[in-house]
């Protein structure tokens, strides 16, 4: 009798191991979120109090006006527009005009995209338009250095790499500390008109 027992394989019952692991897994699933650190990046202008008040006259042709009212309706260069995606090609045409068409910008350096919303405009609409404006600029930068839009954004994300930095400066036309092809997006303070 005792001999028989010794012949059995001495195994530890590990079937409950899976249950324990499942329990841990569920705990981590519940308590964690996948980090979402992606979005539209923006640099705000400096503190208005420290800025000198200057009236600078900017010629009408160098400003590309985008206005959105509280009902999320678009007005681009004074004309109503329903298709937000059309802004991208319009901005490219406006910025790359180089003085040819007297209605559009003199040089990419002078070109300014002015974006004004109402206080009642939804954030969704704001993001949609800003996405198009930034997309237009990223497309143009990418074209200047011969990469795709996605590659350009990857380059701009990691400037610690010297090669990336070189391409980034080339795309933005950095010359003697001045950017020849800046991304001039002016986000005006929202109006309080409503309606």
């Amino acid at each position: 009798m005792a001999r028989n027992k010794q012949r059995d394989n001495p195994e530890i019952n590990s079937s409950s191991m899976a249950d324990i692991a499942f329990l841990l897994l569920i705990f981590f699933l519940v308590t964690t979120t996948i980090a979402n650190d992606r979005g539209l990046s923006l640099l705000l202008p400096p503190d208005p109090d420290t800025m000198e008040q200057m009236d600078i006259k900017i010629p009408e042709r160098n400003i590309f006006k985008i206005q959105v009212n509280s009902a999320d309706k678009l007005l681009v260069e004074g004309e109503p527009l329903t298709d937000v995606a059309a802004i991208k090609s319009m901005i490219k045409e406006f910025v790359l005009n180089n003085g040819r068409n007297p209605e559009l910008s003199d040089t990419p350096k002078d070109a300014i995209v002015s974006f004004k919303t109402d206080r009642g405009t939804s954030q969704e609409m704001f993001i949609e338009v800003l996405d198009q404006v930034q997309g237009a600029y990223y497309d143009m930068y990418a074209e200047r250095v011969g990469v795709t839009n996605k590659q350009w954004r990857d380059i701009a994300n990691d400037l610690s790499d010297p090669e990336n930095k070189r391409l980034y400066d080339k795309g933005r036309g950095l010359k003697d500390g001045k950017v020849e092809f800046p991304m001039n997006i002016s986000i005006a303070e929202p109006s309080k008109i409503g309606g």
Binding site: I34, A35, D37, G39, Q123, A156
Partner: protein, 153 residues
Amino acid sequence: MSKFKKKANTKQEIPTSALPDIIFMLLFFFMVTTVLREVTINVKQRIPDATQLRKLQRKSLVSYLYIGEPKKTSQWGSEPRIQANDVFIEPKDVVLWVNQEKDKLDEVERDQITIAMKVDKEAKRGLVSDVEFQLRKANARKLLYTTLQEMEE
């Protein structure tokens, strides 16, 4: 006779010894790819979509602001509110909050602080621009509107 009987008794169990390993693999995947949630978000967060996303490099320099309609509308009303850490704040308190966040960073990195704003789709520009104005005052000019990746055609 009894010997033969024993041989006919083949085991009909599926071997489950590899199951814990599989589950552990899943567990490690989730442990590595996720971060512990730091705050309980008390506002609705329907994050808008965009195509031109940029990624943040230094996560230690990022502070988060959540803007949206409170989840408990009976207690806080249905007007969109700003949530910083675990409390609701007013736009005028943003400067104070930014300075507190800056104090947590190394002195040399304080100017590189990035504010990630997680704004609900339905929130109005008025409130968001008030926050932007305060951020300018607080000299925290690097801003990121958190968005999701929109599927491109």
